[in-house]
């Protein structure tokens, strides 16, 4: 048997390789550098890796390639999303690296193996132990996220899915405070994640059985020539969708989202809420626009129903939440529904609208969670909504920034969220999904209610007596918030440049 070495365009996959390489370097640092010096090395190293990766993405921005035996497709959408993931990854990393907020160190547990409430834990806390494994873990997750929307066959997609998920399972369980909640979040995330990826894999098997290949192009051609057994195709589509819908937290596969978002350390929540959603929707779009586009008349009704259920139920659930992280989690469910609207459109406007939505949503989400890390009381973050009463009086800047992010999430004009919503809705309208648009607009109105309720609470209500205080934002958190706020504002007032970039990039290669 003759083996031919696969051809790999290293230049195109270099951003992924850089991030992976940095992650491996991080592991080596963990192994060989003294404990108290690791932080000083890990933070600059990780950020430098991401910056270099981003620069490289800019360098190759107009190129396209299908490489590594057509396992990876680097094209406009992939590069846009990879760029967004890397930048948001930097913002997330800044939050993760913040050590000035918590008096006892950072947001992560001193010793993950110590039992909560035990002597070992107390000793570790007293010794002010801090861990730095979280940096390589974040980088591995980012690498997986970068590969996910570029994956051009089902196996690569599955591997990317696991590469991004496994570190996140662990990171969810690493909170320094409220450890039982954090561990529970990790357990739930892990079990349900593994469960749903089994569905994905089984669906992939059926698509392979239908087309004789796991490559998207081959699946596409098989559908066009109607080559195989229809039942295999439809079963495959259904099961693969389950896996992906789980990752984007669409109803009814969303149930992990609120629990994990609430239990995980807030910097990790910020990071995964933004980046996982981008990566998963990127993969979703590629699979459905490239691989399964010929079967769109089969999957569009199914996705339409799911999109409506996701929007409506997500917004409805969010209405009565009293924990801000949980509220943002349900809001992220509702946003998945809005983004699905763009996917269901199955036209170019739908693709570019989805991409635009993902980018803007990522920045607003990280910004909002970053502010959650600032509002604290003696026992850590004060995530109960009542703690936000009167914030406008005590810390007008923070309250205004949070309002900006909330308004953007609500899709009020002059914020990026409005442009994004309009883009996906108009794409769906163009494609004839009027029902979806009507539900979308009505749900936006319901959803606006709970965002604005929080704003009212901040500005029109008196603070609680012994309510939480707002920590003076330290450098790294400030940088992350400033980045997110600037992007949100600029994309709201002058969205044009990004719209054009994304418009030009909205073409999948296959």
């Amino acid at each position: 048997m003759n083996f031919v070495a696969p051809v790999i365009n290293y230049s195109q996959v270099l951003p992924i390789l850089i991030v992976l390489g940095t992650a491996l370097l991080g592991v080596i640092v963990e192994a060989f550098v003294a404990r108290d010096r690791r932080y000083q090395i890990q933070v600059p190293l990780s950020i430098a890796g991401l910056v270099v990766a981003f620069v490289w993405i800019l360098k190759i921005h107009a190129t396209t390639a299908i490489t590594a035996e057509s396992a990876v497709a680097i094209d406009g959408p992939a590069l846009v999303l990879q760029g967004a993931i890397v930048i948001l990854g930097i913002a997330g990393l800044l939050l993760i690296a913040e050590r000035k907020l918590d008096s006892s160190g950072d947001a992560f547990v001193a010793q993950a193996a110590a039992i909560p409430g035990s002597e070992a834990e107390r000793t570790a806390t007293l010794a002010k132990l801090t861990q730095t494994e979280v940096f390589p873990l974040t980088l591995f997750a980012i690498a997986g996220m970068m590969l996910f929307p570029a994956a051009n066959d089902l196996v690569t997609m599955f591997v990317a899915l696991e590469v991004l998920s496994l570190p996140l399972y662990l990171m969810s369980g690493l909170a320094r405070r409220r450890r039982l909640l954090s561990q529970e979040a990790a357990l739930k995330y892990f079990l349900l994640g593994a469960f749903s990826s089994a569905f994905f894999l089984y669906g992939a098997a059926f698509l392979y059985g239908y087309s004789g290949s796991v490559g998207f192009r081959q699946i596409r051609e098989a559908i066009q020539t109607n080559a195989g057994n229809d039942v295999f195709l439809l079963t495959g589509i259904a099961l693969v969708s389950v896996g992906l819908l789980f990752k984007v937290s669409a109803v009814p596969f969303h149930s992990w989202t609120p629990d994990v978002y609430q239990g995980a350390p807030t910097p990790v929540t910020a990071f995964m809420a933004a980046c996982t959603k981008i990566a998963a929707f990127g993969a979703f779009a590629r699979l459905f626009y490239v691989g399964l586009s010929g079967a769109r008349w089969d999957w569009r009704p199914m996705l339409t129903v799911i999109a409506i259920a996701t929007m409506v139920l997500g917004a409805l659930w969010a209405l009565t939440q009293t924990d801000i992280k949980r509220m943002l989690a349900y809001s992220s469910v509702a946003h998945s529904g809005f983004i699905l609207t763009g996917i269901v459109a199955t036209n170019k406007a739908g693709l570019s609208g989805t991409l635009f939505y993902l980018v803007t949503y990522g920045f607003t989400t990280i910004g909002a969670f970053a502010i959650v890390t600032l509002v604290r009381n003696a026992s850590g973050e004060a995530t109960h909504i009542s703690g936000y009463a009167g914030l406008g009086k005590r810390s007008p800047w923070i309250a205004m920034l949070l309002s900006l992010f909330l308004l953007a999430l609500a899709g009020i004009p002059l914020t990026s969220g409005f442009v994004a919503k309009f883009a996906v809705f108009s794409a769906a309208y163009e494609s004839g999904s009027t029902v979806l648009v009507i539900f979308g607009v009505l749900t936006s109105a319901i959803a606006a209610f709970f965002y604005i309720r929080l704003i009212v609470l901040m500005f029109f209500q008196d603070p609680e007596e012994d309510g939480p205080t707002v920590a003076a934002a330290p450098l790294m958190t400030t940088a992350a918030i400033a980045l997110c706020a600037t992007v949100t504002l600029v994309l709201g007032i002058l969205p044009n440049s990004l719209v054009h970039v994304i418009d030009a990039a909205s073409r999948f290669v296959f």
Binding site: L234, T235, A238, P252, S255, M302, T320, S426, I493, L494
Partner: protein, 638 residues
């Protein structure tokens, strides 16, 4: 709608400065913080004045152009350009918007001056001025935007400024509640505006006034009707029209200059502006137009009735504002025959109501912030200037010739009668009745405050206000004398606005001759005044409101049960639902804010029980979901 506008060039690019100057003021004052306490109010006033000067320059430039090319528009930047969805940010200054620009900046500047003295002892005066400047900027953006979307931005901006100013003294819980109420009611109205924008976009692919106007016509009657109703909802929210009027009375919690500027002269009239600006929508949607008329008539009577029972001077004036705006909305609902009169009444009302509010502020200033008119009396001797200016405003509002209100209100009543058929008679007489009640309750306000015997507490030492306060009132009251005649003479305002709102002259034989209408109106006014004279001058007024009053008075005192109605229909069921489902956090769920939301809230509490916290339930959900998807996908094939 006029033909394409001349593109602004040369000094026309001053347009941006109209908005930029006050916006700059707000920014500087907010950013500089306490450092600008000493000079902040002066800067804000100067910038507002500068904006007025720019407005004047624009007016003269406009006068120097011919009728057809008077409107100018200026393209600022392309906001969104995504294939089919294209929104330009641009400004449009035409004959309609220049009226508003001058009103906003002119009255606004006078009120800035007045506030310097009025707010002198408030340690947050700088913040107050920054909000005032913010308001001016947002209001100018509202009237200068060239598309519904740009208007919406200004619309939200004035809303924001209004909440900030109503709740300015938010250390008092009642005031904070008032701000919240205004916020919530306005949200309902804003939803109307966003629906209208969505409708315009989905149906016509454009949101600019020009673009939508190009599609106006009978062939789009259905769409225009929906859009018109959505716009009416928006206008009702902002302009405190039935059934969204309840917030205006409470909004009087804000400092009096705010009530004068925002809740009398400018912001609350934005709804009238919206309807007039969207004349092309309403002209092709008779149903929506009829609704506008009904809303206007109901509100003008409703407001007038509430006004008869209020003892709080500011609330009485607020009720009268509501009622006067009802007149404007009524006029705007009459179509081309009424637009110009709506705007005319809006402008004259801006003058006399602002002057009366400032007069009320002056009274309160001299009376230790007392607002109960039963504790006033005989103030004409202590505050002669306030008395005279308030009296001029009074004559203007009840419509005594030759004061401004006479001309504008008379025209509206006339247009109402001429609306044709039984409909014309009904709304005409309703408008007449409103005029009579207006005369009644305004006479009551006048008598209770300035005549009769003194009823104030011993520790009050009424005195005339400082010159900085009286000067703006005097200027405004000159306006309230002269403006009406100026606009009405030779139908000058009608001609001026003609390019924007199409022909506004009655064709054919009018139902009633103008002179007949005038006489009827004067008789109605005389009746109202006489009744008030009998009730409040012949009989001495008690310092404490009597309690053994008729059920009608009690109704009116409680705003015709508006709040009770809201409470019973929206809030109570919500609250019961809420209490039954004890998960609800009371602190977060404030009945007033969340009443209507509670419907969804209750639903929300039920559906979220799915989220049990058990991994196995979640797994089951996933499994069932997967099975359903699989079944749905395969159903077609098997």
């Amino acid at each position: 709608m006029e033909a394409t506008h001349a593109l602004a060039s040369g000094t026309s690019s001053l347009l941006v400065w109209l908005i930029a100057l006050p916006a700059l003021g707000a920014t500087i004052l907010l950013l500089a913080g306490r450092r600008s306490d000493k000079w902040g109010h002066l800067l804000a006033t100067a910038l507002s004045g500068a904006s007025f000067v720019v407005g004047l320059v624009e007016l003269f430039k406009m006068l120097s152009r011919d009728g057809e090319t008077r409107g100018v528009s200026q393209h600022l930047f392309t906001w969104i350009n995504a294939g089919s969805f294209n929104v330009e940010a641009g400004l449009l200054l035409d004959q309609l918007s220049i009226c508003f620009v001058l009103l906003i900046t002119g009255v606004g500047t006078l009120i800035h001056v007045y506030s310097i003295a009025y707010m002198e002892h408030d340690h947050d005066r700088r913040r107050f001025f920054s909000y005032l400047n913010l308001f001016i900027a947002a209001m100018l953006l509202l009237v200068l935007g060239d598309s519904f979307l740009n208007l919406y931005v200004g619309w939200e901006g004035v809303g924001l400024a209004s909440y900030l100013l109503i709740g300015f003294w938010n250390q008092k819980p009642a005031y904070a509640t008032a701000a919240k109420k205004a916020f919530v009611v306005n949200r309902i109205g804003d939803m109307g505006l966003s629906f209208a924008i969505m409708i315009a976009f989905t149906a016509f692919g454009t949101v600019s006034f020009q673009g939508v106007a190009n599609h106006a016509g009978p062939e789009h009657k259905q769409i225009m009707t929906w859009m018109g109703l959505a716009l009416l909802l928006a206008a009702a929210g902002k302009s405190a029209q039935f059934p969204l009027q309840s917030w205006l009375g409470d909004a009087m919690a804000g400092p009096t200059p705010v009530s004068a500027l925002i809740h009398a002269a400018t912001m609350v009239t934005a709804g009238v502006y919206l309807i007039t600006r969207s004349n092309f929508v309403f002209d092709s949607a008779p149903t929506a137009q009829l609704m506008v008329v009904i809303v206007g008539v109901v509100t003008l009577l409703f407001g007038a009735l509430i006004g008869t029972a209020k003892d709080d001077i500011k609330k009485a004036l607020a009720a009268s504002t509501m009622s006067q705006i009802g007149y404007m909305v009524l006029a705007a609902g009459l179509g081309p025959a009424g637009y110009a009169f709506a705007i005319m009444h809006l402008l004259t009302h801006g003058f006399f109501k602002a002057s009366m509010f400032l007069g009320a502020g002056s009274v309160m200033h001299g009376m230790n912030d007392e607002v109960d008119m039963r504790k006033f009396g005989r103030l004409r001797l202590a505050m002669p200037i306030t008395y005279i200016t308030f009296g001029l405003g009074y004559l203007a509002i009840i419509g005594v010739p030759p004061f401004s209100g006479f001309f504008s209100k008379d025209k509206i009543i006339e247009a109402a009668f001429n609306a044709g058929g039984p409909r014309g008679w009904i709304i005409g007489f309703a408008a007449l009745l409103g005029a009579a009640i207006t005369a009644f309750y305004m006479t009551r306000v006048m008598v209770l405050t300035f005549f009769g015997q003194k009823r104030w507490a011993d520790e009050a030492h009424p005195h005339e206000s400082p010159k900085l306060m009286t000067a703006p009132i005097i200027i405004l009251s000159i306006g309230s004398i002269a403006a009406g005649a100026l606009f009405a003479f030779g139908s000058s305002l009608q001609h001026w606005l003609e390019p924007v709102v199409a022909r506004g002259f009655v064709e054919g034989e009018p139902a009633l001759q103008p002179i007949v209408v005038s006489i009827m109106a004067l008789v109605a006014v005389a009746l109202g005044v006489a009744l008030a004279y009998i009730k409040y001058v012949r009989v001495p007024v008690e310092a404490v409101a009597p309690t053994n009053v008729s059920i009608w008075t009690r109704f009116a005192r409680r705003d015709l049960l508006q709040d009770a109605f809201n409470e019973a229909v929206f809030m109570r069921p919500g609250q019961y639902l809420t209490r039954a489902l004890s998960f609800f956090d009371r602190k977060v769920v404030d009945g007033a804010v969340n009443g209507t939301g509670a419907l969804f809230g209750g639903l929300s509490v039920r559906v979220r029980r799915v989220q049990t916290g058990y991994v196995r339930t979640y797994a089951l959900l996933i499994l069932v979901g997967a099975a359903l998807i699989l079944a749905a996908m395969l159903a077609a094939r098997i």
